[in-house]
């Protein structure tokens, strides 16, 4: 599933790494603790969070995350969007709460906890 196809499912808009929206997403992860994401998320995951600090982009880059979903109507800091564009990390902004985002993505077949 392409990141570009996920955004409309969440009524979301993509900011930051817009050109990378063709990337394939093949799993999901939910967490706001960045050290936890670093340790446990898989490459290719869509990462759902409310954490909008610029470090999310560094962590996404490090773990080869397909896209970040910034849920609950959170607005990213300018620096976060700038770095996301620089590192080509798509960030989907949505008004939906984290729970609903995870439910929708699960419903279309994405799963968590895959073994790398």
């Amino acid at each position: 599933m392409r990141v570009a196809d996920i955004a409309p499912m969440l009524n979301g808009t993509i900011v930051g790494g817009i050109e990378a929206a063709d990337k394939e997403a093949n799993g999901g992860y939910v967490s706001d603790l960045l050290s936890d994401v670093m340790g446990n998320a898989n490459a290719g995951d869509v990462w759902v969070t409310i954490q909008k600090h610029v470090n999310t982009i560094a962590v996404a880059h490090l773990r080869d995350i397909a896209a970040i979903v910034l849920a609950n109507g959170r607005q990213p800091e300018d620096e976060t969007v700038r770095r996301a564009a620089e590192e080509q990390v798509p960030v989907i902004l949505t008004q939906l709460p984290v729970f609903d985002v995870a439910g929708i993505l699960y419903g279309v077949g994405l799963r968590g906890g895959r073994k790398p």
Binding site: D32, L34, D36, H53, N55, L62
Partner: protein
């Protein structure tokens, strides 16, 4: 040399014990041998003035502080010049702190007077997070003239690395704080492998019994904010010598015994720390040429109620060292004669589950040297077959014969200890399997984080 606990709460913090009122805090701090404390309530400084007045009565320096929660739920400790600066910062924080406290859920937020009397209750949601980003928090602290310290970096929840995965590049922190969960020696390798920032040890006490369970030793003229600020910036000869957990770390016990030696008029103190993996034995020995003790005194020193000193800076005395040794299947022995010096030897089962952590020997040596240039220190540390030894007389010679308790001398000593200690840790190709849970893997992992900085 001054001993400070740089992080503790009062009964104003909803999560803190109601017993953490001003008089109790200062009394416990004095008992723990502290010269200074920093009061850091969550997002507030309303009890600061009362603790400062209580401190004044007993001669304890109470520095202004606050523990601010950023929007990312990163806790940042502010060390502030004075009450006025704290109140200025408090106005800024209150403007960005939404919510109302629920006493049932989070606990009471008692505004107390200097005698511990209840003056009122704070109604704000002090346990909550501000709407300021961590960058804005640091900037607000600097605006108020303070220094910004990332609180308990070794804790996953509310620590900056746990919340944000790494320290944001370019964040203008002045120091990192290590909680009482982690020995300083381990924290240094994990978080500041190249000495990026000074490390402070603070107890984060929420109950009186934890006050002074993690302390920082600083070389200062007096325990004031201006001096602490200079020490963090390594200015005017002020410096952070190290830190540790006086109740736990064996390195703190060693410091205590060696300070006894110096007080007994020793001109030479030999410290040896042997980790004998083959015999599963840890042996600590401190030998001095001081005035020695008669049999009567030797019998008494292992009594927890006996001391020849009126104040105790660190450690719990030989009685507690004996207890720590016995708990780990070892024993304490003291050999001494009047005029013949003293030898204290403690043994422990190296892999014994109850064996106390070694702690940070760098701190032990730095603190000993900083105050006592006239004493020759010899330190020997061996792990398995590897050994590192250091003699301050040799270092003095290398430094051109001058005193070592100068900034340059202390830097030389610090460098020598770090080189020596790291030579003991280097992976040995001949023996790949070391004790499980050794620090090497963890420090490599965090070094990767640092590569991104």
């Amino acid at each position: 040399m001054f001993t400070l606990d740089t992080h503790m709460h009062t009964c104003l913090s909803p999560c803190a014990d109601l017993d953490m009122h001003p008089t109790a805090i200062v009394a416990t701090a004095i008992q723990a041998g502290l010269d200074g404390i920093v009061v850091c309530d969550h997002n507030s400084a309303e009890n600061l003035a009362a603790v400062q007045r209580a401190g004044q009565r007993v001669g304890l320096s109470v520095l202004a502080g606050m523990e601010i929660a950023s929007a990312e739920e990163v806790h940042v400790v502010a060390l502030l010049p004075d009450l006025e600066a704290a109140l200025k910062l408090q106005r800024r924080v209150y403007a960005e702190l939404p919510g109302k406290n629920d006493e049932e859920a989070f606990g009471m937020q008692v505004v107390a007077g200097e005698d511990g009397e209840v003056l009122g209750f704070n109604q704000r949601l002090l346990i909550g997070a501000t709407t300021m980003s961590v960058e804005e928090v640091v900037a607000a602290i600097h605006d108020a003239g303070g220094v910004a310290v990332a609180a308990h970096v070794d804790r996953e929840g509310f620590g900056i690395i746990g919340q944000l995965g790494m320290i944001p590049p370019g964040l203008a922190l002045d120091a990192l704080e290590v909680s009482r969960l982690t020995p300083l020696s381990v924290a240094r390798l994990k978080y500041v492998p190249s000495g990026e920032l000074p490390l402070l040890c603070g107890s984060d006490a929420h109950e009186p019994k934890f006050v002074g369970t993690a302390v920082t030793f600083m070389l200062l003229q007096e325990p004031t904010f201006a001096e602490v600020n200079a020490a963090l910036a390594e200015k005017s000869g002020r410096t952070v010598l190290g830190g540790g957990r006086p109740m736990e770390d064996l390195s703190m016990h060693i410091l205590d015994i060696a300070q006894n030696s110096i007080e007994a008029g020793a001109s030479s103190v030999e410290i040896s720390l042997v980790e004998d993996i083959a015999r599963d034995l840890l042996e600590i020995e401190v030998r001095d040429d001081g005035k020695g003790m008669d049999p009567e005194t030797i019998a008494k020193v292992a009594d927890p109620f006996f001391t020849t000193r009126t104040t105790r800076k660190v450690g719990m005395g030989l009685a507690f060292l004996a207890q720590a040794a016995q708990a780990a299947g070892g024993e304490l022995s003291i050999k001494s004669e009047p005029g013949q010096g003293t030898r204290v030897k403690a043994s422990f089962g190296l892999s014994h589950i109850d064996r106390a952590p070694i702690g940070d020997v760098e701190t032990t040596l730095m603190v000993l040297l900083a105050g006592h240039d006239n004493v020759d220190l010899t330190f020997r540390h061996s792990i398995g077959g590897r050994e590192f030894s250091l003699c301050t007389a040799d270092l003095k010679e290398a430094a051109g014969g001058g005193p070592l308790s100068t900034p340059a001398g202390l830097a030389l000593l610090r460098q020598a200890i770090r080189l020596g200690e790291s030579s003991l840790r280097e992976p040995d190709p001949a023996r790949q399997t070391r004790r499980p849970g050794n620090q090497t893997a963890a420090s490599l992992e965090v070094n990767n984080e640092y590569r991104d900085r």
